[in-house]
């Protein structure tokens, strides 16, 4: 089981490395969206610190949304997904591996680039740390919940638009507490532990339930 997991993660990473533009696209989308807000709202430092948590998190939601459609699409088109459904191993392991690879490719780069973005909004050092932590703890939940949506809309016309309609409302708790954690550090100076614990709770809960639901949906979709 572990070997299957490792094989699929490595395979997906390798495939993505062969086509680097997709990863970079997500990353630059994230940066561009975040850079647009100060241009539209104004560059007053007080305002920037106020809006930074929400802007960063909404940009992260949209960026992870952007490539979600392709989570299963390539494997679905060339028939690999059907072979994966036929393995004797549990399908949820396959899904888990694919989602992990997806997070390594789209979530982790956002976490790593966020300090740079935070500088644009003139956040202090400890606020940058809290931003990294909240993104690190929250983005896996986005990939997990998103996988359900990706499986639901697999192979549909206009699947991308539909996907965002289905998944974005489900992202709300992560957005609220993710942005809340940064805001607690930056604006109100409240303790942040509770936010981190809730974000990790979402991540673990979605890790437990989402692969299972996703594999059920994949079976319906490929019937």
């Amino acid at each position: 089981m572990w070997r299957l997991f490792k094989t699929i993660v490595l395979r997906d990473l390798l495939l993505a490395l062969r086509r680097r533009t997709e990863i970079l696209m997500t990353l630059f989308f994230f940066i561009v969206v975040i850079s647009l807000f100060p241009l539209g709202i104004g560059t007053d430092r007080q305002v920037l610190v106020q809006i930074a948590p929400g802007v960063v998190w909404v940009a992260a939601l949209l960026a992870s949304m952007l490539v979600l459609e392709r989570l299963f699409a390539a494997d679905y088109l060339d028939g690999t997904l059907e072979q994966m459904l036929l393995t004797s191993q549990p399908l949820s392991i396959v899904v888990m591996a694919k989602v992990c690879a997806h997070w390594l490719l789209t979530g982790l780069p956002l976490v790593l680039i966020s300090p740079l973005v935070a500088l644009q909004y003139r956040l202090e050092d400890e606020q940058i740390v809290s931003m990294i932590w909240s993104l690190f703890l929250g983005t896996p939940a986005l990939s997990m919940i998103g996988a359900i949506g990706a499986a639901l809309t697999l192979g549909l016309r206009g699947g991308g638009m539909l996907l965002s309609l289905l998944v974005l409302p489900l992202y709300i708790p992560v957005l609220v507490y993710g942005a809340g954690a940064i805001a607690a550090g930056a604006v109100t100076n409240a303790p942040q532990q509770a936010y981190y614990m809730l974000l990790s709770a979402f991540t673990f809960l979605s890790m437990a339930l989402a692969p299972w639901a996703t594999s059920a949906v994949l079976r319906f979709s490929l019937e």
């Binding site: 699947g159 309609l165 409302p169 409240a190 809730l198």
Partner: protein, 255 residues
């Protein structure tokens, strides 16, 4: 007298279709009567709790029942979806699909009447109050559900996929509600607007309950009507459909 119902017999669309037709008047007549009674009671027979000028509060007799129904119908959809996935019955999915538009309409009605109420009492059409926000998110969930169902051409896949979506949504609703209710986990005691059902006058409460019952019966009527249409649409090539008297007369007229 104990009536034992053979549930499996009526889980077949062919035998449910006529049953639904017979059930509709039994729900429609009480629904109309209760709406008339409830509205009259609510509008003319309840005391003025605020002052003579503040008659606008009477929108409560539409607003609260609509909000309750909007939440309940989402649970119903997820429940039908679960039954459908477990027992593999086509009719359960059809019931879920028939319930969604009614639920959406009630959600919209609750938001719309709430906006009027908010404008007159708070002076604003919209406020980011937790209840309003969660009702808005419920509307998004309903729309997502119907959009997914409309997007998938294969009926079997559409049914099952949307059933899973409804159940995921149902699981997320408490979490979303909690998160909009208390965005700051350090101080979660201050819930904005606690439920005030217990503190209101019994007269108003009963009028509101009458309206809720009326809306509930109304939902039965439209859902049964809609499910009859869905059955006809999905089973139009079946033999029993072509033998229905209403279809026969229609077809002979077309010819």
């Amino acid at each position: 007298m104990i009536v034992s119902i053979n549930w499996f017999k009526y889980s077949s669309p062919a035998s449910f279709y006529p049953l639904a037709g017979r059930m509709i008047p039994w729900f429609a007549v009480p629904a109309i009567l209760l709406i008339i009674v409830g509205l009259y009671w609510g509008f003319f027979e309840t005391p003025n709790v605020l002052s003579d000028q503040k008659q606008y509060y009477r929108i409560i007799f539409v607003h609260v029942p609509a909000a309750w129904m909007s939440m309940w119908l989402y649970v119903v959809i997820a429940g039908w979806g679960l039954i459908g996935l477990v027992f593999n019955t086509r009719l359960s999915f059809m019931m879920a699909a028939a319930t969604a538009p009614t639920g959406t309409i009630f959600t919209f009605l609750a938001l719309w009447t709430g906006a009027f109420w908010g404008k007159t009492s708070w002076g604003t059409w919209w406020d980011w109050d937790p209840r309003l926000t969660s009702e808005l998110i419920l509307l998004f969930l309903y729309i997502g559900y119907m959009a997914l169902q409309a997007a998938i051409d294969d009926v079997r896949r559409a049914d099952r996929a949307s059933a899973v979506l409804a159940m995921v949504g149902l699981l997320m609703v408490p979490i979303i509600y909690y998160s909009v209710n208390c965005p700051d986990p350090n101080q979660c005691t201050a819930l904005h607007q606690r439920s005030s059902v217990r503190s209101i006058e019994s007269n108003i409460f009963w009028a509101m309950l009458t309206m809720t019952l009326a809306f509930w019966l109304y939902s039965f009527v439209v859902i049964l009507k809609r499910v009859r249409n869905i059955i006809l649409e999905r089973e139009k090539y079946m033999e029993w459909v072509s033998e229905l008297p209403e279809i026969k007369s229609q077809r002979s007229r077309d010819r």
